[in-house]
Structures are given as C-alpha cells and as structure tokens.
Symmetry: D2
C-alpha cells in the first residue's frame, strides 16, 4: 500500500539549490498516514507514509531555465491571489526564476486558439493582489483538449505548471502529467488543491476553507436576528458543501447560534426535521437552520452535471424554505422563514489572516516540489506536516465528516439537535 503514495519525479536532481542550506528537507522525510500509537505498533515496521514537503539540497531545474505557468480553475475561493502571489515571489526571489506567466480563465488559457493573452507575473504585478478576493487570472470550469494544452506548454517552453483547482482540475493536471510522461517532456506539474468544501483527501485542510467558515458567520448572525425579529421566526442559511458538511459544521461550531445542521453525510427525513422545529419554536419562538448544499439530495432529485463535471444539485435551500412554510401553514402555527444563500459573498472574499499564511506556505512547498522535479502531486498538510500527495490519491475519493467521530459529536453538543433524524 505504501508505494501508492510514491511521488513521480522528472529525473535525478543534479543542480545545487541556491537556497539557505539550513532549511533543506531530507529526501527521505516521511509523515505517517496514521499518527496513532496503535497504527505504529501494528504495521510491522512498515507504516504508510507521505513524502515530506520542503526545499531540497539538490534540485532538478537550473533556476534561470525555469519557465513557469500558473492557472486557476473552477469557482472562486478565498486565497487564490495569495497563492498566485506567493508562487511568483518564491520563484522570483528565492530561486531567481524570471519567466512566470499567469494563464487566463482556467484551462482555457492553455488553448491557443482562444487567444487569451497570458499575464506576465513578477513582484510588482502581484504586490497587492492578496488584499482582494477573486483571482487576477480569471477562471473557468471544464476540461479542454489535452493535445492542445500540451502543445501550448511545448510551444511556450513551459517546464513548470502550477494548477490551482479542485478535483476536476487535478484530474486534468494528472492527465497532463501523464501525457508529459508519454512524450518524455521535462514538465513538472504541481497542484495546489482548491476546495472551499475542504473535501480533498489526505490533506487536513484546504485554503479558503477557514475564510469560508469565518464569512459564514455573517449570514448566520443575520438568520439569527431575523429569526428573533419575528414570532416563530426561522432563519435558514445554505452553505457550501456538495458532498460533505465541513463548512456547515465548522460554521455552526463557530457561531453557537445554530439549532439544526443538515449535511450530506447524515441523512434525514422531513417529518423529523419538522417535529424538531415545532418543539423548538414552542419552547423558544425562533430557530436557526444551516443546510449544506449537498444535504437531502434525495428530496430534490435533479439530472445532469456542470461544465466541471460536478453532478448538478437540487436546491435544498429553496426546497426547505417552501417545505417549512407550508408545514407551519398546514398546522396553523404562525411562522416566518427567512432564507439566505450567501455563497458568492463567501467564495469571493479575500483570505483571512490564517488562510493567507497557509496559502503562502502551500505555494512555497509547491515551488520547492517543482524545482526538485517532482510532478503529478498536490501539496497538502497532514498530521500538521506539509506533505506531497500523489494526484491519484488526492482525487480518488472525497474527505467526509464521520458521523461517529469527534467533529459531528461537537456539532451535536453545540446545537442540541437530535442525533437521529431518520
């Protein structure tokens, strides 16, 4: 099983790193996948481990020969500009690279015929971009033709590609890395995983997630005030989380004003939700509900997928608003439902302080990995250490909340909601 976490390499590292030697990471450095005593004991001395991230003493690329490119894909996420800025600063100041281009509008930027001129990146251009949300490069969803993309890289003699995006993006990046391998091109493809949902495997946290939780406090506080401002007011907030409830769960723990959280990992029946709401309103006259966008999809079935290939979701927020209103109307209990969908305001926010730090660290590690000729990997953090994760592993499944784990227990403690809504 260990081998599956092995990292691809462009070849032997023959160049001396220009960096301060005090900081080099040992090529053998590995971080245990499972940091518990039991795992260490039961592994026959062969525990599964992830390659440690960081600068290497010997690197693959002669720094001045580097021609790097950066691409941002998929929906907006706090911290995109922080990552773009840090990649540029570290490449430029630490390694002395002088050719860095920002590709426009996601993978469209690798399709020559679309004519999106790349933005040359340097310290002046990126100086203040991290103060603003969004991405200065623009983004887009969806795949592009592999042949055209690799042709673009070859024509522009790009030998380092940083792909900032979610699992669709990393899937595309992996394809490029494989194509590169087939054609035997020296192109390092390094991913920085971007998922505001925080559902990439083998990384305990993704950038933008903490900011999303922080900004979520605004609509939750609004829902709280609205719910208390009317007799039997119900404040309903839909948050990110297609397949997992991390944003919903953390936002709830941060607020402590939420009375019910619904997430994709924990199924529920509508009658149980209504029964809980009735009793809550009878006792307290107001209630706040947070629902992850991917929760309760059995109630709102839809067909199809978006340009990124993500399965389309039924709108559980609108559904619940209507269902609750109708229920209380039917039982002749006056109730007022206020529904808030803050997603654009969350995902377009600038990164908060902690995410800015994290983005800088991730970007540094990504640059170190690429300079050392590592490819087909994403940088992540696991058991509180920065690591390299093979792209295949990062996208093989999605991280989810364990309904029997400590996080969900904290949520139940915090909200007082029933553990079982089925």
């Amino acid at each position: 099983m260990k081998d599956t976490f092995g990292i691809r390499s462009l070849g032997p590292c023959r160049v001396e790193s220009p960096l301060d030697c005090r900081f080099f990471v040992d090529d053998d450095g590995r971080v245990l996948l499972d940091a518990t005593l039991a795992a260490c004991r039961d592994c026959d001395g062969k525990p599964v481990a992830l390659e440690q991230a960081g600068p290497r003493r010997r690197i693959f690329f002669e720094p001045r020969s580097v021609r790097a490119a950066v691409v941002t894909c998929g929906g907006l996420c706090p911290g995109l500009n922080d990552v773009i800025r840090a990649l540029t600063m570290v490449l430029w100041h630490r390694y002395g690279a002088r050719s860095i281009m920002g590709l426009r509008y996601g993978y469209e930027g690798l399709i020559a015929r679309l004519g999106h001129e790349p933005i040359p990146l340097n310290p002046d251009v990126v100086a203040d971009i991290h103060k603003h949300g969004g991405t200065i490069l623009g983004s887009s969803r969806g795949h592009q033709d592999m042949g055209e993309m690799v042709a673009f890289l070859a024509q522009n003699r790009i030998n380092v590609l940083f792909a900032i995006g979610g699992d669709g993006t990393q899937h595309g990046a992996l394809e490029i890395a494989r194509e590169r391998e087939r054609r035997n091109l020296d192109i390092a493809v390094v991913g920085i995983p971007k998922t505001i949902d925080n559902d990439i495997s083998y990384t305990q946290r993704t950038f933008g997630f903490e900011t999303a939780v922080a900004i979520s406090q605004i609509p939750i506080a609004s829902a709280h005030m609205e719910s208390k401002g009317a007799r039997n007011g119900v404040g309903l907030v839909k948050l990110m989380g297609r397949d997992c409830g991390f944003v919903a769960a953390y936002a709830t723990l941060a607020s402590s004003d939420v009375n019910l959280v619904l997430i994709p990992e924990v199924p529920f029946r509508l009658e149980k939700v209504m029964a809980f709401l009735e009793s809550r309103l009878q006792r307290k006259s107001h209630a706040v509900i947070v629902v992850a966008e991917g929760a309760g999809q059995d109630l709102v079935p839809v067909e199809g997928a978006d340009a990124s290939g993500n399965k389309k979701l039924g709108d559980i927020g609108v559904f619940l608003k209507k269902a609750i209103t109708e229920h209380f109307s039917k039982i002749r209990m006056p109730a007022t439902v206020r529904y808030i969908d803050p997603s654009y305001m969350i995902r377009s926010a600038p990164a908060n302080a902690d995410d800015s730090v994290f983005c800088f660290q991730l970007a540094e590690k990504a640059v170190h990995a690429a300079m050392a000729g590592r490819t087909g990997l994403v940088v992540g953090i696991w058991n509180d250490h920065f690591v390299h994760v093979p792209m295949e592993k990062a996208i093989e499944s999605r991280k989810k909340i364990d309904p029997t784990g400590a996080l969900w227990q904290s949520v139940l403690d915090n909200t007082g909601q029933p553990a079982n809504l089925m």
Copy 2:
C-alpha cells in the same frame, strides 16, 4: 402653508423640566424648510419652517407619572436596538421615568388577546442590546384593530407611546393619535421613522440607511470579484429601494466599482441596458450592475400587497439575471452572470458608528417631544437640525432621487453610465 407643519400638543406645559437648564430649546425655535437665499427673500417674511426638536423648560408630564411603551414594526433595520436602548436610558436617567415597557412583535403587542407579554425595559435590560442587529422586541407587519389597541393603552395606563416604523407604522400611529384626541386621552404618540430606503419626507436621513449603504459594499465587492473572475463576467446586485434609489445610489458612490445603476426614479429600456453591457464587456470583459428592488417594475408586473399594505414588487433581480443570460446566449457572446440578493444580511446588521450616534440623538429628541406633550409627530433632521415633523407631512409622499439633481449627477459621474436608457 406654514400651519400644515404645526405640531399637536396634549395641552399646556405646567411641569418644570428636571433637566440641566443650559440645554433648553426655545419653544419658538423653527428651522427653514428651504435654506436657500432665494427662498428666504421670496417668502414675504413668512417662510415655511419646522419646529425645532429638543428639551423644553416646561414639560407636560410629571416624570414619575410617565408610563411609556415602545413598539417596533415592519422589517428589520439597523439601529432598532440602539433606539430602544436610548429611549430607555433617557427616560430613565434624565427624566426619572420608571415604567417603560417594550411591546412584542409590532402592533400585535397592543392586542391583548394575542397574549404577547411586554418586556419591562430598564438600563440593565438594554445595556448591551445595541451591539446586536435586529430588535429585542420582535416585529410584525400590518395593521391591528384600532379599538383594541387604544383599549390596551388605556388598560395599561400608557401615556407615552413611541412607534418605531415606516410609513405604514406612522400611519397607524397617526390613527392612534387621532383616536386619542377623540377620546380626549392624555397619550403622547411620537414616531421615530424607520425606513432603510431613506424615503420619509422632510427628514434628510433615516437611521439604518448609512449602515445599509456600508454593508452593501460587501455584495458589491463580491459581484466585482465574481465579474472579474470569469470571462465577460457580469456581477448583479439587488439592493433595497421600493420607490427610490437612495441605497443603490449611495452604495454605488461608496464603491466606485459599479458600472450601471438602475433605480425606480429613472426608467430604462432593456435594449439600452443590453447595448451598454455589450459595449462595456467588449472594452473591459466584466461589468457590475446594481439594481434597486423597485426599478423596472414595468418589466415585471405583479399584483397584490404585503401585510403592511406595500404593493408587491416583481423580482427585477431575477428577471435581469435571466434576461442578460439569454441576451448574451442569443448573440453568442460568452458571459457569466452572478446574481446576489443580500437584503436580509443588510437589514439585520447592527448599526454602524454613525447610525448609532444618530439613533441616540433621534431617541433623545423623541423623549423630549413626548415629555413636552407633543403628539402626532415624528422626529427627523432637516437642513442639519433636528426637527418635529407632523405625521401627516411625513407620510404624505415619499422622498425620491431627483434625476436632475446633484446626487444623480454624482452617480452618472461615478459609473460612466449613459444618462438616458430609454
């Protein structure tokens, strides 16, 4: 014409005010309706003027005999708790009143059979409420039976009623004031106008408005980032403003990132909007639009009214989102529209600093007016002086943006949008 601005009074003021004599306002103090030189010259020495607000040397009520009640009606608005708090503090500490009750859920709180127990208000109860949005009293829309309401006031021996609400509320308060007159009860009815739209006549500003403009910067910044994050991105934000564009206009001036504002006072044709958008996207690849909820109602006709009697509005935001998407699809120009409706997050926010100051000042003036036996008035600010405005005048029409005035000129200067979209 002057008489129409005359303020009703419960009777002669025979009680010495307990306040510091340095601060008394002259009973004859009046503020000109029109502060220009031309108006002063052309009035034959009889300019129209409003009664100045402030503490009087002699007051109507013996302070310890005061039994005050406070009611908040209609939708949430930043500053409601500031006003409740300040009314309580000034009544309690300055005048020594000891009976102040907070009525629950708007005018429902004056309907005994609904059983909403009032909240006794005192400095401890209200100490920190201004730090939070919403209203600790709760609110509701709509009228209640006049007979029941006046009976409630009589039964509870309430002699001072503060009505915090919009023109529906002030209309109700005026009815109570008139009913009081008919029955010859000594009840002072004083309104604090609440309209986040800022459209009450004869007051240059209403509380909550500045906060609304401030919070609007968040969705506008989001729309800006979203619009730049996609090729030909269009960020669309719907803001408050049923009959007027004050929030939309000020939010635009504050942001300086908006390219087009649509308001109820300035009609537009859809083709002109699309033509402007096309040219904008061709030049800049992104655009930000702000639309007041009451704009373009000819495009989205609906029937009916809400519980407050406000005419129902068609959803111009959803309409525009669809129309723009379809238009660019039709002309085969790729474009991505992101639509944000932030209204609950705006109206439930706590008051910002400047609104908190204003709320305190308004509440003080309302208490002074009531103690002096003034009734059937709202407190306002005009030509930068606090004044008493007869309820009839305050609600006789709505304040609007003059499309030939300085404010709209500033908006056109700021956005660069065409003056004429018809």
Copy 3:
C-alpha cells in the same frame, strides 16, 4: 458681512461646459448661513449666505487646456485616496482634461530642487486606490518657500491646483492664490479641507471624521473589555482632537460604553475626575474614559510647535494614566489602568462607505469650482448643501463643541458624567 463670503474668480466664464445641461447650478445659488426662522426674519432681507457648489453652464477653462495638480499635506486621514481618485476621474471623464499630476510629499512636491518626481494621474493609476488607507502621493508637514512653489507651478504650466489639507495647508494655498493674483496668473487654487478633528469652520463635516469615529469603536471596546477584565479596571483611550472634542464626543455616543469624556472645550479639575471615578468604581467596579488629545492642557504644559505650526500638546493620556494609578494607590483602592492610544490606526484606515461617498461629492464640487475659475476657496457642506467657503473664512477660527448645545447634552445623557468637573 455678506461680502466676506464672496468667492474670488479668475475672470469671466466664456467656455461652454461639456457637461449634461440638466445638472447646472445657478451662479446666483446661495445657502443661508443660519437656517433658522429667526435669522431669516431678522436680516432685513439680507441674510448672510454661502455660494452654492456645483457645475456651471459656462466655465473658465477650455478643458483640454487644463493642467491640474493635486497635493496632499499634513497627517494621514481616511479618504485621501478617495479624493485623489475622484478628482482624477471627474477631470478626466467629465471634462476631458488629460494632464493631471500628483505632487509627492505635500508642499515638498512643489519644490523643484527636492527632486520629487510627480505621479501622472489617470483612471488606470487611480482605479483601486480608494480601497486602501493613506495617500498614494505621500505627505509632509510644514510650509515651503512661496517663490519656489509659484515658480514650480509656472514652470509646469499648472493652472489648477487642488490642495487637500488642514488649516495650515489652506493657509499656504491662500498665500499661493494671493501670489497668483499679484502676478496675474490664471491659476485656480481650490482646497478640499482635511481635518480628522472636524474643526474647519463653515463646513458641518469634513471627510475622514466619520471613519475616525467608526474606527474609534475598536479601542473603546477594548478599553471596555479590559476594564471589566480586572477588579476596578479603568480603560483609558486617547482620541484625536487638538482643539475640539468632536471625535471624542461622537465616538462616545456611538459606543455608549464610555463613562467619562474629557474634551478641550470643557475644562476639568483632576480632583473632580478622581472623585467621579471613585464613586463609579465603587458602584460598578469598572470605568471607561475617553480623552481628546487637546483636553486638560493646563495640566500638561509644554512649549513649541510642530512643522505645520501646530502648538505642541502635552500628553494628557500618559498623564492621566499615571495620575489615576497614583491616586488609587494612594487611597489604597486596588485599580488597574489600561491606556490605549490608537491614533495611527485610526488615521491610516481606508474611508468607510459614507466617507467615500462624501469624498466623491467634495472632489466633484472642487473640480466644478476650479473649471469655473473659482479660486481661493474650499468646498464644504453647510445646512446639508454643498457650498464654496472663502479660504479666509474657513481658517479664521476653528469649529468647536458648544458646551451648552445639543451635542454636549447628548454626551452627558449618554455617559451620565457630571456636567461640571471644575
């Protein structure tokens, strides 16, 4: 007396304005200095009035001939970049001016031998500057040689100068305007008054003031928390206000957590302050004090002046911290004083929404005034109308809080502090 409010002009206006004719302001428009009925009645038909600001039908400068310069002087103030941006945008887009230069580091920027290269200003350069505090032009204090400054203007053929600064700056601008007159040069000198203290005469508000009040809430909340976090905790905050207490007073009203405000306009004796504090701590175990930097200067006498010619102030904050600590030590009452001096954090903040709007409006009016050949004036707002104020009048004295007026009454109502501390 009226004449003294007359505005200088470079000469007759012979050029048609390129602006939309709907918005022109009548050259005869005047705003009453005193908007009360009594003033209007008692003026014999000749009330004192200020010239109304706004665009004129006929202007002095042919727009393409305009060579404008902008200078920012004195300490930082929220909104400087907003004003620079708006001056540039309105000159460029509305009037078609194409030569606009930003002078560096205050009046130093007009001294050729110092070698500060001006920054060319255009819509691209200023696009996002209003999102950040400070001034992109830099600033400095103090006067420079008049001959050198006028020579610089002549050499660079500058015919419109916008001076953004306090009364020292406007005094300098007035000197330039007078020198211009003597030399018969066609240079319009227009001031935008900048005083975070809000003490410029004949303008009800200056830009940056509201933001200062808003940001002051942070240290006051800190002082409040610190005071409650210790037995007999005393939180002490020093705020802006060399000669007036506007920031201190408004910040107090906005917070409603302050128990004592000390301002320059209201003298106090230390014993009275200590007696009030003792009784407050005995009752409540904590207290919050706000002191304006210019308060109690009789207690902390110093000599000298800064580079701007402002009298040096003794540090009343540090003095009070020490005095209170010593007093409670002497009377053996345990007390903990936490002192906060937040001034740099306040003055360097970006403008809040309401100030951004105001900055835009002021800058527009300044451009209109200059284009119409008005000179030796500052733009202001009075009785809620934008006006032109002759520089002599703006700087002849400083606006102060009236200790017998409504504002101070509100403060006493809000804090519960004794009216008399002497």
Copy 4:
C-alpha cells in the same frame, strides 16, 4: 520516557456515561509525539505517545454530583468567554451537571476573605458571552495561598476545577492537584492552556493565537500606510511574544507587507538592522518592521518580574523607535518613524471563527477529561489530534520558533530580510 506523559486519575471509573455511545474514545488511544516515519521505525515499538482526549464510556463522577468551578487567570486573550460558555453548555446539556460556578478575578476568586462572590453559570447566563471579548469572570495575575485555595474548594464542595490560564496558572493548578492528592480529595483539576503567544509545549496551537494574528493585520496595515505616507517612512509595530515570535511571524506571513521581523529566538545587532533599513529606504523609500516584545532584550535590560512571576521586559518597541530616529538623524537621511503598540486591542478582541471552533472543542475535551476523573492535565492538540498533556510537561519549557525550521524559512522568504543580523 513514555511514562512522563502518563495522566493522573482520581480512581477507577464506575459510572456509565450518559453520552451517545457512538462517540466514545478508547481508553488506550494514544497519539504519537513524533509522527514521522523515522521516529516510528527507530523506537523499538515503543514510541512516546500522548493520551487521546474525548468522552469515555465509563466516567468517574456521577453527573448530578458534580460541582464544577471555572477560573480565568492572567491577561486577556480572545476566546476566554467561548471557553467559559462551552464548559457550561457541555457540563449542563451533555452530562446534566447543574452546579457550575464562575470564580471572579482569577485565583483571587478562591480566596474567601477577598469576598468575590462567584457567578452561577448556566445556559442563560452564558448564551451570548462569546460574542464579546474579555472574560465575564474577570481575571488577575499572581499566586494565592495554596491552603486558602484548597480550603475554598473543600468548603464549597467543588470537585471539578477548570483553570484557564498560562503557565503560571497551570503551575498553580498543578500545585492544587498535588495538594488534592496529599489530602486525598476527589477533585479533578483540568487546565485549558491560554497563551496568546502560542508557546505552551506539546500543543500545536493555543486558543486566541489565530485571532491575535488576525487582529495584528490592522496595525501592520496602518504601519504600512504610514510608512508610505511619508518620505522614508518607517512603520514599527510591536506584537506579543515574550519568549517566542509566533505572533510576529504568522502576522508577517499573513500580511506580506512586512520587511523585517525581529523575534526573541533570533538575535540581532542594531548596526545590522540599521544597515538593512538604510538599503531598504534607498531602494523603496519606506519600510515596515514588526518586533516581538521579547526580542532584543540584551539591548533593553531591566530587572524584576510582574505579579505572575513573568520576568519584566524592556520596551524594545520604544527603544527601536528612538534608535532608528536617532540613527537617521545622525546620517542626515530624512526618515519618519511611526510606532504602534496594539496589544490591548489584540488581546481584548472576541475570538474569530476558527478560534471559536477551537475553544468549543477544547472545552468539550476538558469536560470529558474531568468527568472521567483525569486530573493534573491540560487539553491540547498535537499532530492534529486532541490530547491530554500532563501539566508538568506542558509547563516544563516553552515552545519556540526553530530558526532552522520551515516557519522561519517562510518568514525569510516572505520579508526578504537577511537571515543573519548578527
């Protein structure tokens, strides 16, 4: 070595936990101290490990017999109220405890003769306290008499004590735990480590730290604006960090506007700092410096200690301000130094979202530990797992930044400052 991480226990757990059985943590659960592969391999199957935190199937106390007390000690720190609230909520709702008292003003609250009445804690009292900074219990520094404290616990029949504080506090708590042992009393003493400096050993993060980093962005942005607002402006910010530079380092990484960070772990010579500054100002005309309060103490030697026993620090911020000003005056290079000391504003802030989540989780784990009869421990997080750390280990030394580690490397990458300033 492993034994030293063993956790004391009051005795065997004979009570069934009332909690949901799905969430129980195995009593044998351990988290590796070192999560690298090398450590796991080289430990002979006996790696050092920490006890895992979480709810146990069998607990020590019969819930209704619990009489809990909470005490907050030392300086303010964001999140204190979050912890107080969560302890109360989890004790009350999950375990059914009904006797919870908040002791006033730190360990003074355990000294009966001081007469500080405890505050009874329940869900109503703590409902909204997490929205505000500070601590509702008040705090104090310093030790109190052990005999008096244990007598207080005995008299009030307190059997669970939660001590929220830094290493002085945990040292005191450990003494209480030992005294309890000697007297054979059934009192569980559980610490929640509170250090805004983030320097408690064996916990990767302490609550309030992230908030401190976040709030630090305000003064750093101010320093940045001030530095750019003057010719050769130098913005200087002093941040928390008596013995370590974590706040300074993370705040710098978050801001990316800092040019030089000085921390206790990395010594420097003044000449080197000045040389760096000179070259920076010559190139860029402005500079931002962040200094941790404990940096450069060889330059500002002082004697003595505060009430908590912390060694007094010389004021390196004031020293540097003076030294820089004098240096540039001496070399006749104009420079303006703006110094900001924001510490009270940082430590009194409410917790940000991520810290609020963390506080809730820590408090939960603390309650679980106490209910299971664990004592003499603090709760922490290590390798991303919540753990129990014996108080002796937590306070035996302080966590510091490794000047050859990845964090300091990131800082050097971010600021561009020289690695060696000696």
